[in-house]
Amino acid sequence: MKGIKGYKNHFFDIEWVCMKVPLILVWLRSFMYCLAEGYSVPIPLGICKLFDCSLFLQGSGLIFTIIFSLALSVSYILDFQMKWVTLGVFLLSVLVFTSEESSGTLNRNGALSFLFLAQSFAYWLNGSNLLKLKQTRIQFSIETVTVGYFLSACSKLFDSGIWWPFDGSRITLQVLKSFHHAYYTNLDASQLAKAADVIQFLNESQNMIVIVLTCALLLEFFALTAVINKIYGRIYGMALLLMHIGIHYFMDILIISFVYPMIIVLINPFFLMVLFFNKGFKNMTLFLK
């Protein structure tokens, strides 16, 4: 496997393949889910204020959107005309996910959309410099994923100040809300029983809440440092994954459009699997280079 020597990180071709295929599949899944909802854009936001986005979500417009998104996805996987394809995926993504938000559903797909614009930047800026392109298309993706965490930390500091973790005792209200959301969705009574257990545990673990929330805030705030070094970035990704698993367990919240791109871009598990199957454990150190 031939490495690309960048100014700070090496990125292999196979890393890009292992990243882009699951990434476009995650995008396509969220995208098709949105189209299947048949949103009618009752509360226009963003670009949907400029024109009627629902034209692309119904009738012949819907067929065009589906065909166009599939064509872009195939081209993306085949690395065909990437300058335009990444830009096209970004524009389509903004159109459809803005329609979703304009229907009152907030799935936090912003970073997922922007990922493709970031990759487009790499192709437009470094299209003639293959070495730089191979580095920047992954580096820009990592920047996009991590800036979301950084801004989330800034929001906490801005809205609640540095003492945000110490307000954490009231997180029980949010936990109760989340489990009630889950209950009202399918009337699964076990959700309410789980809520009672989790709340009791949290009430008995006030000091632990402060420690966990402090760690989460620090992890989010320094997420951009994952850009600097690839190995450090992978370890950082695993720490963020642990944070998401904790949030999912205690709050029943999993923001797929946030978590999956983070796993794919920062940890890149498929690349690690390829290394393992091709070379075995002893050469796993390849990913450290």
Partner: protein, 147 residues
């Protein structure tokens, strides 16, 4: 000294350039897709709202039967309140506000759907701390008849 600063700026822009573009985009366009400051749980206020529907027999209707979920209904409450320019949270909404918000939410929820129930009631289940214990409050925001 000047060349050192120049080097640092060059390193920052080459390492975090795209992140900076996103941050500037967020500062200019605020919460406009794809930009966001991702304010999930940026504060832990002393209130939390959840919403549900009941039929004419006071039975809770699973939101999945309306192709939505509890979380989406919660977000819809926020979006509709913003649309109607009604400040919300911390129990500041008046009965009239809740009625207006509820009617609009029902409009969006039921648009283009064939509903089995003859009557729907939209409830707001709220939680807050009172004397160190969690208290619940259930309010009927609005109801629709004649489906």
């Amino acid at each position: 000294m000047f060349s050192k600063i120049k080097k640092i700026i060059k390193w920052i822009t080459s390492t975090f350039g795209v992140a900076l573009v996103y941050i500037f985009g967020m500062l200019i366009f605020r919460e406009t897709h794809p930009f966001s400051r991702f304010p999930m749980y940026s504060s832990f206020p002393n209130w939390a709202y959840s919403f549900y529907l009941t039929d004419e027999n006071d039975k809770i209707i699973p939101l999945s039967s309306l192709e939505t979920n509890g979380s989406s209904l919660g977000h819809l409450f926020g979006s509709v309140s913003d649309e109607l320019s009604i400040p919300y949270g911390n129990f500041m909404e008046s009965d009239e506000d809740l009625l207006r918000i509820g009617k609009r939410m029902m409009e969006i929820l039921t648009e283009g759907r064939d509903l089995e129930a003859d009557q729907l009631e939209l409830h707001r289940k709220a939680f807050y701390y009172k004397n160190d214990s969690i208290t619940g409050q259930d309010i009927i925001m609005t109801y629709y008849e004649g489906y």
